[in-house]
């Protein structure tokens, strides 16, 4: 996958500038830095639980890159840390949510870590039973279709979730009415401890799209440019009224399922060791270097900036107020003035 020839990065053919691809890489670094900081804070006892996006960053950055902030919508899932950043969540928002602070934009400290969502960024509030959010994305796309408005809804989920009945209902309905929605399956091969061949009879999630009457494409989720190309095409299709696309991005899960899991219990030792070879960050960095775009100085600058950003974000997040028990019974229903 890693290229050594300058001419082969191919980003300009996709309409991306040098600055764009460097920005994509920087954002991958930022998402990783936030994710790693969450683990540190979890081990330090500050955060109760972590569910990680490490290994999914290239797919998430590439796929969310064509989305239009404050216009398009996203119904994410629990690994969508990099996607949430593209949609506008700041590192401070994310750390604040993980610390369950009272003014956390996702839930005001009501939900567990990893439940990304924020009305202000057009990110739908997420729950824990998997797959439920996919119908919400389809409903948003239906709303835009009914109103004749130029909006694309993107939703993401893992290949384990792809087997849920609600996913079938969502994709079928979106296919019937050619709704402007992009289904993103981030296939990391593992549903907690159960491998792909024990979950997906046909071994391909993308292949299912044919039955729903729209394209299903499989992309290398370690390659942000391949993911971007697929998402850009899907976004354009949706806006042209041609309907949904299912993108299956094949990614690696670099961590255990969550901070409560130990993947050494079910993954072969060699596989776990080998995972680092598939880390999309150094792979993309090598390509950018080979293309003459990423210098050592720039890489160091990015890393320093990202480190400063997460340090500052964590510091500010820790100073946010705790939830007030006096509000615990509020906002079950709308209150006067809502």
């Amino acid at each position: 996958m890693a290229n050594t020839k300058v001419a082969e990065l191919g980003h300009k053919a996709l309409g991306l500038t040098d600055a764009d691809v460097l920005a994509m890489y920087r954002q991958m670094l930022l998402a990783r830095a936030v994710d790693e900081r969450m683990w540190l804070m979890q081990r330090a006892g500050k955060i109760a639980f972590i569910i990680s996006g490490q290994g999914h960053e290239a797919a998430q950055i590439g796929i969310t890159w064509p989305m239009r902030p404050n216009q398009d919508w996203m119904a994410p899932y629990y690994r969508s840390i990099a996607s949430a950043i593209t949609f506008g969540m700041t590192p401070e928002d994310i750390v604040t949510a993980h610390l369950a602070k009272g003014d956390d934009v996702s839930s005001g400290g009501r939900q567990m870590p990893g439940h990304y969502g924020a009305a202000r960024y057009n990110i739908v509030s997420l729950s824990s039973p998997v797959g439920t959010q996919v119908l919400h994305a389809v409903g948003i796309a239906m709303g835009a279709w009914v109103k004749g408005e130029d909006v694309v809804a993107l939703t993401s989920f893992g290949e384990g979730t792809s087997n849920q009945g609600e996913i079938h209902e969502a994709m079928n309905f979106a296919g019937v009415h050619k709704l402007p929605v992009i289904f993103v399956c981030e296939n990391n091969g593992w549903a907690i401890s159960v491998p792909l061949d024990q979950q997906v009879g046909g071994l391909s999630v993308a292949a299912r799209a044919a039955g729903y009457g729209f394209p299903g494409v499989t992309v290398d989720g370690g390659d942000p440019l391949a993911c971007y190309a697929a998402a850009k095409e899907a976004h354009e299709r949706a806006r042209r009224g041609e309907g949904p696309t299912l993108i299956e991005a094949v990614v690696v899960r670099l961590t255990s399922h969550s901070s409560d899991d130990d993947q050494r219990r079910y993954r072969e030792a060699g596989e776990v060791e080998d995972l680092k070879q598939h880390d999309p960050l150094p792979i993309f960095a090598n390509r950018l270097r080979a293309a003459g775009l990423l210098t050592t100085e720039l890489e160091e600058q990015f890393r320093a900036e990202v480190k400063a950003e997460i340090n500052e974000a964590s510091k500010r997040a820790e100073a946010h107020p705790e939830p007030d028990v006096a509000n615990a019974e509020r906002w079950v229903y709308a209150e006067d003035g809502d």
Binding site: W73, A75, D104, V105, S106, S107, G108, G109, R110, Q111, H115, G117, A118, A119, R120, V124, S125, S127, P129, T132, V134, L135, H136, A137, V138, G139, I140, A141, M142, G143, A144, W145, V146, K147, V151, A153, G165, E166, E169, A170, N172, F173, V176, R330, W331, V332, Y333, A334, E335, D338
Partner: protein
């Protein structure tokens, strides 16, 4: 004033709300060209088009979940479950997602949406076209649940539900659809959610009911007055969540005796909550045991008419229960 039956009143409410607010839409199975299996949406597809009156695949989770997404987007969807019995594939969406959205998002996402639930037996629908499953939803915090028993309330409560900022489960008893006609006020008739209706004042005992049981309880009250000289107060709860506790307790304070009537089975049913509230908050007024008259403890309404008649509550059964309580 127009004389309408409940089905016509429901249709009029949807028609007027679709007309009034371009964000209102209707979705469900067969709601389009056919006009719904009961005719509730008859004519709306032709008037508002196939997007705002949208036929869906046979996918109840999708109907509820997509309605929720549309509500997030700013629409006010009215989702129809063809029969309340078929809502269970949507249970995850309704009970786990829709009811919790406002709370879990700390008030940043509300879901202004209605789910219409044609419920109840006595229509030869057997186990899977007759259920009264409101208790699953009345016990779910975050939902509102209403069950009208008159055409005026059906229209007024449905309009209130469409305009509400939160999800409303709208239970419409199928047997009442064409049971009788009654006057519905002209104009923009809206009945606030959360207010019970004293359908018939009385002094000897209170009968608490909703939906089709309002009709049966009023018939029973006529018989009790005529044959026994018992003046039963019939309180139509109309709104189950939120419940108009003040009206319930005021009635018990007046009569001293409470009979709670519903078609759903007794154990853990909605009547248990009404009875508990009366026992806790109206104990000093009681002059007899709070009594429940409810559907039998079987998993559904059996089909044969002998069996269905055995299952169904009716005015005679209410009269019998009321006489026993009055004599206590």
């Amino acid at each position: 004033m127009a004389e309408l039956n409940i089905l016509e009143a429901i249709r009029a409410a949807m028609d007027e709300e679709l007309e009034r607010d371009p964000n209102v839409m209707v979705l469900g199975e067969d709601v389009g060209k056919k006009g719904g299996v009961f005719g509730a949406t008859d004519g709306l597809w032709a008037k508002y088009g196939g997007k705002r009156v949208l036929d869906t695949p046979l996918t109840e989770a999708m109907i509820a979940g997509a309605a929720a997404g549309a509500a997030i987007y700013g629409l006010r969807p009215i989702a129809e479950m063809q029969f309340a019995d078929f809502a269970y594939p949507a249970f995850n969406q309704i009970v786990s997602e829709i009811s919790r959205m406002r709370y879990r998002s700390n008030n940043t996402f509300g879901l202004p949406m209605v789910i219409r639930m044609p419920y109840g037996g006595g229509v030869h629908g057997a186990l899977y076209h007759s259920q009264s499953n409101e208790t699953y939803f009345t016990s779910t915090v975050g939902l509102k649940v209403v069950a009208p028993g008159t055409p005026a309330d059906a229209k007024g409560l449905l309009k209130a539900a469409v305009r509400d900022s939160d999800p409303v489960m709208f239970f419409e008893h199928k047997k009442t659809y064409r049971l009788f006609k009654a006057e519905v006020p002209d104009g923009d008739h809206v009945v606030p959610i959360g207010v019970a209706d004293v359908a018939r004042p009385g002094k000897h005992l209170s009968i608490f009911c909703y939906g089709y049981m309002r009709f049966c309880a009023l018939e029973a009250a006529e018989t009790l007055a005529r044959e026994d000289g018992i003046e039963a107060e019939v309180v139509d709860l109309r709104s189950l969540r939120p419940l108009d506790t003040a009206t319930v307790l005021a009635s018990v304070a007046k009569t001293g005796k409470a009979l709670v009537v519903h078609e759903a089975n007794r154990f853990g049913g909605f009547g248990a909550e009404v009875a508990a509230i009366i026992a806790e908050e109206g104990f000093e007024h009681l002059d007899g045991p709070v009594t429940r008259l409810a559907g039998p403890e079987v998993p559904g309404v059996p089909f044969h008419h002998n069996l269905e008649d055995w299952f169904m509550l009716n005015p005679a059964k209410i009269v019998e229960a009321a006489r026993a309580l009055a004599a206590y």
